[in-house]
């Protein structure tokens, strides 16, 4: 019986990682679902939904050769797919400032206190090694307005972090 799994992959970034893994999965008859693949720092990271008749150890075995030659760490979890049920974000939070510990914790604690559901979070460390800056965008679903969310985050500005929230409106045509 086919089942869905979440495959997590981390390794030193290099060309060919996605091709090697997805080729092995395709040859084994697996189907891919949604995925997020991105270079974070010098690492390449993959979170990918995989549907296959193999069990968790079978997936690890079939990806073993590619993983070994590319120096990748692989992790497999059984999941429920829940495809075709995207939640539409209605608020975007943008944050940037001089990088320092605690930015994410403080922003997300404030958001969590109002039941804000993070759907997509991207962050980068930019600037220079001497003066790193942190840039983050969060798309989420909030029962409260963007104005209320921005007001909630305003105290962080006093700590030198630029924060803002804006409504995300999706045009349907």
């Amino acid at each position: 019986m086919k089942r869905w799994y979440m495959l997590t992959v981390v390794g030193r970034d290099q060309p060919g990682i996605v091709a090697a893994l997805t080729d092995a999965l395709f040859r084994a008859g697996a189907n891919l679902g949604e995925a997020s693949m991105v270079r974070l720092g010098g690492s390449f990271t993959i979170m990918m939904m995989v549907e296959t008749e193999q069990d968790e150890s079978g997936i690890r075995a079939l990806l073993g050769p590619a993983g070994l030659s590319l120096g990748l760490k692989l992790h497999v979890d059984t999941i429920e797919a829940h495809l075709h049920s995207h939640v539409e974000p209605n608020v975007r939070v943008t944050v940037y400032g001089a990088d320092r510990p605690g930015i994410v914790a403080q922003v997300t604690a404030a958001l969590a206190s109002r039941g804000f559901n993070i759907l997509d979070l991207e962050s980068d460390v930019a600037g220079t090694p001497e003066q790193p800056i942190y840039v983050m965008t969060i798309d989420g679903h909030s029962a409260e307005s963007a104005t209320a969310i921005e007001k909630l985050l305003l105290p962080l500005r006093e700590k030198g972090v630029e924060v803002g929230a804006e409504p995300l409106e999706t045009l349907v045509g």
Binding site: H84, S85, H86, E88, T94, D120, E122, V135, T137, D139, L168, E169, T170, L171, V172, G173
Partner: protein, 161 residues
């Protein structure tokens, strides 16, 4: 309603040549279909399997934005476009997906009405986005053909302000 990957959505629609009772009945049907879809602010004829250059847009239900009310655009032509803004779009013909699309901020469009009379409309912001989204359907283009990434969005925005 056609849903992608139905390839008929990728075909170019032909101009309307006869402004007759059949056209006016179709315009009524198109409007009924749009109004029956919650949150829908526009519809193009090819979405309902009718490959003539007809779109309808009505963003007047959104609070606090400039609009022309209900716009029935037959054989629409772009007169001018300026500016660029990225916004989120979905489509009745592409269920369960939304994405960021760059569109002109202000447009001028001319089109015929149900009687064949030409009229010009100036649109901005959300309404301009809706008109451009719908006119794209007439050329076999979906918002999927114009996606930009969220990272791109942030960079564009950071540059502008």
């Amino acid at each position: 309603m056609l849903h992608y990957p139905d390839i008929r959505l990728k075909q170019v629609s032909v101009p309307v040549s006869s402004f007759d009772q059949a056209l006016r009945e179709f315009l009524c049907d198109l409007e009924d279909t749009m109004r029956a879809s919650p949150g829908c602010v526009g519809l193009a004829a090819p979405q309902v399997n009718y490959f003539q250059r007809i779109v309808i847009v009505d963003v007047s239900g959104k609070p606090g934005i400039a609009h022309n009310g209900r716009m029935l655009l037959v054989n629409p032509e772009m007169v001018s476009r300026e500016g660029e803004a990225v916004g989120r779009e979905g489509c009745l013909s592409v269920p369960d997906y939304t994405g960021n699309v760059a569109r002109a901020e202000r447009i001028c469009v001319r089109a015929q009405d149900g009687n064949g009379e030409w009229r010009e409309y100036r649109c901005e912001g959300y309404e301009a986005r809706a008109v451009l989204h719908e006119i794209d359907h007439l050329d076999g283009l979906l918002f999927l053909d114009r996606l930009v990434s969220k990272r791109e969005l942030f960079r564009r925005k950071a540059y502008r302000t």
